[in-house]
Each structure stands twice: as structure tokens, then as C-alpha cells.
């Protein structure tokens, strides 16, 4: 952020920023730590060059943050949103900075050291339940469109379309999608899905959740999609035995979530989670291959697909055998 941008930002926000530094993390967005003259710490969030077509614009993410904050979800307090790209070069919003760490491997290591942290995953389950209390229709969230009539079938169709777009035939991923089609559960009333509620996007300090981050994939859907995403093997950061995000037991997580979680729907949505991550990775690889954005990180993200395919085959086997 240069001097002119900072001056424009001061004028627009009506504050005096005395320090601005780029925070680590965020493949899609840039997050800047702002220190104000009066001692407050804020975070400014804006777009990176590599914005995924499927992610929501900043103003939409800000509206979600406001809705979540009003619902009592632990999120950074949203402060202001600017859709005018002329201030710093792209739309942005600012929120209050919260303490804690979101680094997946660090949290997973700390949880494993104590044999799993069921208090933490219980708290995370409760957070997710609060998010799911936001239900359509909502005028302030109209940008999300109509909820799908059947979230499971809509998921299958969307992933197939994205695989076709990415262009590389993927028999193992198709194998997983065919299994989902065979086992699609009947639809349930839609709720707000965070759609990236996983270890790595959750700020934690001690055993307390300090913030649920990264709302840019939120959409109406089946609440079990979020439960499955959190519990999927690919988001356990090496702690395969700690089924809730590599942090604690699935039982504690579901207990924290409370009423409305149907464990029999989880195998479908955990397989869906693995497939979704594989399709995102395929998209990122395709960005590199197509020349849209030649980038080592994108190229390497595609290299995780085979291990996800290993998970998919095992998950399909368990789903078909009824042992998932």
C-alpha cells in the first residue's frame, strides 16, 4: 500500500492510519493489518489478482459478515465497506482485528499433543449451528439467489460442469460423483452454508474460537455440507484419527452443534467435500495450464488431486458397503 493509497483510505474512513502491513495467508484475497493513531487494530480485506470466479465480491462478503455478527456468530466486527475501486484500486472492507491463530497445522499439532481437543470442537460445532440459523429468504443476502431445491443433486451437477470446464477427464472423481448420485439423501430445508468452515479458516486463542473467517464461498444449502466439509479426511491436517477437523472427536463436534445434525447424512457430504476440494484443485491447475495465470502454487495444488482420489475411492467403497 503506497502513500497515496493510505492518504485516500484515511480520508474515506475518516481515521488516521499509522501502520499498514500485509498479513500472511489468503490465496484469493489480500488482508492488510491497519494500526490506527488511537491504538485500534483493524484488518482491511481486498481482492488479489488470482480471484476465483466462484468467490463472492467483497461487498457480498461484508453483508455476510454483518448477518453472521448479528446472529451471534464469532466473527470480526464489520466496520465499513467501500465498493469504489478508486480509493485503493479495488473494493475493500474493514473489520476489527481479533487475536489468535488460524494456522491449520499449528492448531492440529496442539490438539494432537493433548489427544484431541473436544472442548474446542464442541465450541466450533456451536458456531456452525449459529451460522445455520440464518435461513432464506433474506433481503440483505439476496445476492446469493434462490436456494437449490435439492442441494445434493445441485452439488453433483455443479461439480460435473466444473470438471467439464477444467477440461481434464478425471475417472476417479467421476467415480465419486456417480456414487453421490446413487446415494443422494432427500433434501432438507436450506440454511446458510459457510462453505469453507474448516481448520485453517477458524481463528483460535487457547480453547476459545475468536473468529470464523473467509466467507467468500457462502451459499444456501444443506447444513450437512458444512458438517461434512469440516470432518472430511482432507482437512484433518495429518490427524486422521481426530475426525472433526484434525482437532477433536466427531461426537463432540456434533454434540456442540446440537439438534439438526443427522449423522447418517455425513458420509454423503464428506465424500462431496473430498470431491469439491479435488475439483477446486483441478480448477487451479487449469488456470496454470491454460496460461491465464502461470504460477507454481497453482501448479502444485493440482498435484494434491491423486491423494484426494485415494480418499474418494475409499469413501465410495464405504458408502456402497454402508460402513461409512
Amino acid at each position: 500500500m503506497n502513500e497515496a493509497q493510505r492518504a485516500a483510505l484515511n480520508a474515506w474512513l475518516g481515521v488516521e492510519i499509522v501502520g499498514a502491513s500485509l498479513l500472511s495467508g489468503g490465496a484469493i484475497q489480500q488482508n492488510w493489518a491497519l494500526r490506527l493513531a488511537d491504538g485500534q487494530d483493524w484488518v482491511l480485506r481486498t481482492d488479489n489478482a488470482a480471484t476465483l470466479a466462484v468467490s463472492l465480491p467483497r461487498a457480498a462478503e461484508y453483508a455476510l459478515l454483518r448477518a453472521a455478527h448479528a446472529q451471534g456468530v464469532t466473527v470480526p466486527e464489520p466496520l465499513a465497506c467501500c465498493e469504489d475501486p478508486s480509493i485503493i484500486g479495488a473494493p475493500f472492507f474493514v473489520m476489527r482485528r481479533v487475536g489468535g491463530t488460524a494456522t491449520g497445522f499449528r492448531l492440529a499439532k496442539a490438539a494432537a499433543a493433548q489427544g484431541g481437543d473436544d472442548a474446542l470442537v464442541r465450541a466450533l460445532g456451536a458456531e456452525l449451528a449459529r451460522i445455520h440459523r440464518i435461513t432464506p429468504p433474506r433481503a440483505d443476502l439476496a445476492f446469493m439467489g434462490e436456494p437449490p431445491a435439492d442441494a445434493g443433486l445441485a452439488f453433483i451437477a455443479a461439480q460435473r460442469a466444473r470438471l467439464d470446464e477444467a477440461g481434464t477427464p478425471r475417472p476417479a472423481v467421476e467415480w465419486g460423483l456417480a456414487a453421490l448420485a446413487r446415494h443422494a439423501p432427500p433434501p432438507v430445508p436450506p440454511v446458510l452454508n459457510h462453505n469453507d468452515f474448516r481448520t485453517g479458516n477458524l481463528m483460535v486463542e487457547g480453547q476459545a474460537v475468536t473468529a470464523v473467517l473467509d466467507w467468500e464461498f457462502a451459499a444456501w444449502g444443506d447444513p450437512h455440507a458444512d458438517l461434512g466439509w469440516f470432518c472430511a479426511p482432507c482437512w484433518r491436517f495429518g490427524n486422521l484419527g481426530l475426525e472433526a477437523g484434525g482437532l477433536g472427536s466427531r461426537a463432540a463436534f456434533l454434540e456442540g452443534y446440537g439438534a439438526g445434525a443427522d449423522a447418517s447424512r455425513l458420509p454423503f457430504w464428506e465424500l462431496a467435500a473430498t470431491i469439491r476440494w479435488a475439483v477446486i484443485a483441478a480448477d487451479q491447475g487449469a488456470r496454470h495450464l491454460s496460461g491465464v495465470e502461470r504460477n507454481l502454487e497453482l501448479a502444485l495444488t493440482a498435484q494434491i488431486i491423486p491423494e484426494l482420489e485415494m480418499n474418494i475411492l475409499a469413501q465410495v467403497e464405504a458408502l456402497d458397503a454402508g460402513t461409512a
Binding site: 460435473r160 475417472p171 467421476e174 467415480w175 456417480a178 507454481l296 502444485l300 488431486i305 491423486p306 491423494e307
Partner: protein, 109 residues
């Protein structure tokens, strides 16, 4: 015909130099990039030793090529409890294991 050392050896030797000599001398903000380069070199080195042709030939028992195999799976050609399903599942397992042996052998279990 090609000069020795071969691709695998060159990549392994270059990677060892990157990790042992360059990485410690790099500032911290470049460590992630350097580790990504080392990972890419390891994957490329393993890929150079794998021959996918035999498994590709076996896919021809199911379809004309990988794209058609994928399309047949999507169309529901393989239903659990049928010999075709068992055969396709077995082949997929072998293909995925080979792919994973290149990208991340530790995930093979």
C-alpha cells in the same frame, strides 16, 4: 542416447543443493517459495520413472480412452454388485495409486 546423469538424478542433485545450500541462505519470506520448488522437483523426478502406458492400455478394455471411460462412469455404466463395477474399481485403484506414487508417496499408506 541421452547423456548421463538422467533427469531423475539431475533433479535429485539440484534439489539437494537447493535445500542444503540455498534455502538456509534465503530470507524467511522466500522459504515457502523455495520449498515449493523443491516439492515440484521431487514430483518431476518421480514422474520421470513411471510408465503409465500399461494402465492406459488396460483402460482401453473399458473405453476408447480416459475421456470416454470418465464419461461412461458418469453415465452410470458401472453399478455396484456387477462384474463391470468390480473390474473398473480395481483398475481405478491401480491408476490412482500410480498417480499418487508420483505426487505424494507418503499418502499411499
Amino acid at each position: 542416447m541421452l547423456e548421463q546423469p538422467d533427469a531423475r538424478d539431475l533433479l535429485a542433485t539440484a534439489r539437494a543443493a537447493l535445500l542444503a545450500k540455498l534455502l538456509p541462505a534465503l530470507p524467511a519470506h522466500l522459504h515457502y517459495e523455495a520449498r515449493m520448488i523443491a516439492n515440484a522437483m521431487a514430483i518431476a523426478g518421480r514422474a520421470s520413472t513411471v510408465d503409465p502406458a500399461p494402465l492406459e492400455a488396460r483402460i482401453m478394455n473399458f473405453a476408447e480412452d480416459t475421456a470416454q471411460f470418465a464419461a461412461r462412469i458418469r453415465a452410470g455404466a458401472y453399478q455396484p454388485g456387477t462384474p463391470a463395477y468390480t473390474g473398473a474399481a480395481t483398475l481405478l485403484r491401480e491408476v490412482v495409486r500410480m498417480r499418487c506414487a508420483v505426487t505424494n508417496p507418503r499418502a499411499l499408506g
